[in-house]
Symmetry: C2
Subunit: 587 residues, 2 copies
């Protein structure tokens, strides 16, 4: 496999052998290590010294189920620290199948007048991937739903496309990188951390992959891989959350709305309550029922990417049976729903669609709007006003710009004290005062407030891998540490994080994941080894952040979580600082 470098300073490309040091690094492990090795931690995130590293996971592009994940690494313009943003789409498998272990986008043109597209295809004669550039300037300033069809027309229906919307072109801290789903919708996002702006700063509007004729990845021990794969499939298919017509397949990730609301942990009206009276109307069940009524039948969810057998990606249909948007994740329906005091599902769907169209991260956008509502820009519950503001963000008006910098920046602009962000990144849909472990993850992860970095919701709320009291601080630092390390491995192996539900409850599933990786790599890792692998990734990320000036004093939640009790439990976030420090201190 190779490292393929695209240098935007002179549109040159380079194919390098994967160095010995990186031999076992894939996905997040590789993106984080390369960012640590190659990007000056104090460089400007939108400057020529920052880089974007794309790497698929160990088993990505194999027949392992639900494993089409891609890591995108960079220095984040939102947090100023390291970032790994993870996405499921065909793009990751296509990159891996062309034997590109890492695609590195580096440099920056001196002049800003042209945006480029990079078309990467497999050259059968040379037996290597080749890059062609094209002038993509004419596709800027537009809705991504308008420009993706033009690219499919230009390069054929089988290609996979990465791009960014106007949010990235404006340099917003909340701009994601967009990838197409299996129905060619530009709707799958490496959303967090503003990486769409990094890509735009390189003046690279598109990265289009065509893996036709590419050889695909090889395996050292196919039989072992197959043994692991079978265990993984069995685990996924038998767990109530991940099985066909199970929680995720029926209601999508939005199945969590009612669960978190019940637990008093659904952040409502900019984190002023943990329970929302309109929650049920914005839930996965409501989406399912709305579709059933409008389409005249039960509609189960679809795969966002090839080979997924969980299939949690939903679509919300209009009354006329046309699509309103796909997909409404839990985070999105919360960020633009409960968080804003909005319970109109169609309005939420439209906001999600607008975020996709402009290339905005839904979590950061909803968070910013919540803070702006708290600051008096518009009242909570004003869904029409919120829609208008998202449109302004996409168009780059002054007011739109004032919201594009993300939750923390919005707090500064609107003079708000209740600003739910850590290390500059807005907080996702779990209230740390009601679910203590996830608060520890928010505070300590290298990524800024990020639920996926150590999803302690499993035992705290879902009863997966045991059952813990979400309101208790006891043992939660160790819990978060274990989840963070394991997650860093999962983000490197290429499986979707949702395999965590089955593999944490079904030991054979975890074993299967390790066997799949050993089969591909020829390693003989144990379960302990993969957790140690994840911990090493976290240490590299931490090393980058420290050099970027993000000290351990930043491993804290904003003050209001420890001073303002949250209804309905009237709890504050009461994890001692020593416990927060122990997450990395004892790793």
């Amino acid at each position: 496999m190779w490292i393929l470098r695209i240098n935007m300073s002179d549109l040159s490309t380079k194919l390098e052998a994967v160095p010995e040091d990186y031999k076992l690094l894939y996905g997040r492990a590789l993106t984080s290590k390369m960012i640590l090795d190659e990007v000056p931690p104090l460089c400007h995130a939108l400057g020529p010294k920052n880089k974007l590293v794309f790497s698929a996971g160990i088993v990505t592009s194999s027949s392992a189920p639900t494993s089409a994940r891609l890591s995108v690494g960079s220095k984040s313009p939102l947090t100023g620290g390291i970032k790994e943003s993870n996405v499921g789409s065909a793009w990751g498998p296509d990159l891996a199948s062309m034997l590109v272990r890492a695609l590195v986008v580096e440099g920056m043109p001196e002049k800003n007048d042209v945006y480029w597209g990079a078309y990467i295809k497999w050259d059968a004669e040379k037996a290597e991937p080749v890059v062609e550039f094209f002038d993509a300037t004419e596709y800027t300033g537009q809705d991504v739903y308008d420009i993706y069809p033009k690219m499919f027309e230009k390069f054929g229906d089988k290609v996979s496309i990465a791009s960014m919307g106007t949010a990235g072109e404006f340099g917003y801290g909340n701009a994601g990188i967009v990838f197409n789903d299996m129905a060619r919708r530009p709707s799958r996002y490496a959303g967090r951390g503003g990486l769409g702006s990094v890509l735009a700063s390189k003046r690279l509007k598109f990265i289009i992959l065509n893996d036709k004729g590419a050889p695909g990845i090889t395996m050292v021990d196919k039989a072992l891989f197959d043994e692991g794969r079978k265990k993984m499939i069995d685990a996924i298919r038998s767990h109530p959350i991940s099985k066909p017509k199970g929680g995720l397949n029926s209601y999508g990730t939005a199945v969590l709305v009612n669960i978190l609301n019940e637990a008093g942990g659904l952040p409502t009206r900019n984190f002023s309550s943990g329970r929302y009276e309109g929650a049920a109307k914005t839930s996965g069940e409501a989406i399912f029922e709305t579709n059933k009524e409008r389409m005249g039948k039960e509609i189960y969810n679809h795969a966002c990417s090839p080979g997924c057998i969980i299939q949690c990606s939903n679509t919300l249909y209009n009354e006329d049976k046309s699509e309103l948007t796909s997909c409404i994740e839990y985070e999105s329906t919360w960020a633009l729903g409960a968080n804003l005091g909005i319970d109109n599902l169609d309005d939420i769907g439209l906001m999600v669609q607008l975020c996709n169209a402009y290339g905005l991260d839904t979590i950061e956008t909803g968070g910013s709007l919540g803070v702006a509502m708290d600051g008096g820009l518009l009242p909570f519950g004003d869904s029409k006003g919120a829609i208008k503001l998202i449109e302004e963000m996409g168009k780059g008006t002054g007011t739109g710009r004032s919201l594009g910098g993300g939750v923390e920046v919005t707090g500064k602009i609107y003079g708000v004290r209740r600003v739910p962000a850590v290390k500059g990144q807005g907080m996702p849909a779990y209230e740390p005062r009601a679910v203590k472990g996830i608060g520890i993850t928010y505070a300590t992860t290298t990524m800024g407030a990020d639920h996926t970095a150590g999803y302690t919701i499993c035992p705290e709320i879902l009863g997966v891998s045991g059952k813990l009291d979400p309101l208790s601080p006891e043992g939660k630092a160790a819990l978060s540490r274990a989840f963070q390390a394991t997650t860093a491995f999962i983000d490197s192996c290429g499986h979707c994080l949702f395999i965590a539900f089955p593999i944490l409850d079904i030991a054979a599933g975890f074993e299967g994941m390790v066997q799949e990786c050993n089969g591909v790599l020829g390693t003989s890792w144990t379960a302990d080894d993969v957790v140690a692998y994840g911990a090493q990734v976290l240490k590299w990320e931490r090393q980058f952040n420290e050099a970027a000036g993000i000290s351990k004093e930043m491993d804290r939640l904003p003050e209001f979580f420890s001073t303002d009790p949250l209804p309905p439990h009237n709890q504050v976030f009461d994890i001692p600082e020593a416990a927060l420090d122990s997450v990395f201190g004892e790793m």
Copy 2:
């Protein structure tokens, strides 16, 4: 002397004896120590746990010349670190003469519906200061030039007033605290660091002092003080920069425009050049000549505060002989002039007046506009557009809000790479690539980019206290360290920083300063002692910042200073990181 506390949570006040530990602490030394002792470093700057501490200097309210300075300390909403913002006005002497060593504003009302005024007067019977509160809600949302006359009408012409403009009410990071000058103009600002927003967050619209009948400060050794005072007066009156009809008295601080432009160190068009073709039109000499032409006579500058014999505060008059604004400082004519490519003096004057009217820091405002111009919001040189944007800032429109967060936040919103800020604070009017020592001060001071924290311009540009090559990096870390420590003492003694010009060149002047302080306090400090005092202040500030998560990795200039050569010298900022670290490392 007392510490007077105003608790805005319940409108209670408390008069405490000055603790033994604080016996020798005044001005910046006291505000910084009290912020370190009392404010949780990670609290929200606009939350109930932040405090504002007002303290005048050691000799303030005495007959020491040019010593009517006040320190305002707090955790800064702009930098997230400690802040001392320093201002000359009658307010500081009035506070000291009522024997209030420190006025502490703390707490915060639970409800946001009322703004209060605090009227502090000397109660002759009780022989102590007393505080009366009044409802000041009706004075919010207005131009400070409209509300100050109403306060003078209400409380009499002799009072001194502190307040903030709409910028503070909106919670902007660039909102200052405004004080009246001797002609009762609301034009003297503790401008930097967003402290106007902290005051507004406490819902305290006015702090009005009436020192009628107050005893004034006492001295341990009046004869020694008088001896020192005489030396100080002699030094000020004989130095070419500070003497009557000398540089400052004739041309104001704006005398620096031509000097820095000549040196290639006048930041132009958002720090893209060190020389501005329109500089002369925006200089102190131009202000002097314009006034001469319009008023038909030479007009020398006036004192901003009682007892000043330097008298550098200017007024720009309109053609009809009415006042356009007072005063146009060097920093302001630069920030809104060369920095924006604007050379129309009347437009600059109007912008200064608008900044004053809305309570905006001119440096941060000009810096934000420069970054926004770089980001394409409007062209460089568009003075009418800039005026309109400042009006929008004052009115809080979306676009105005997008600029209110200061230079760094504006950079994030407009996706700009050339963002001249350190620790979140915008850079003043000296180019670090052309004047290396001041770059070290910007990088390392506890305050964020701040020229006043260690004004190495003296030897590097002005030939004061020797003459050093501004372009050379040699010895500049030690230079900045010495200036920073000495400055921290000057900021504590109550003299205006401009005494530095005479006392650095005239040994008797420095001696005079030390004698004045020894006379007041009964100490027997040497010159070394006062520098050590200053160094101790810096260490306290540093301690606060570290606990606030501002690590030494933040003691750096933005990347572009080391990568983009600056015309006309085509130099980069080439101070090694080890030298930057040595400023505090070897203190």
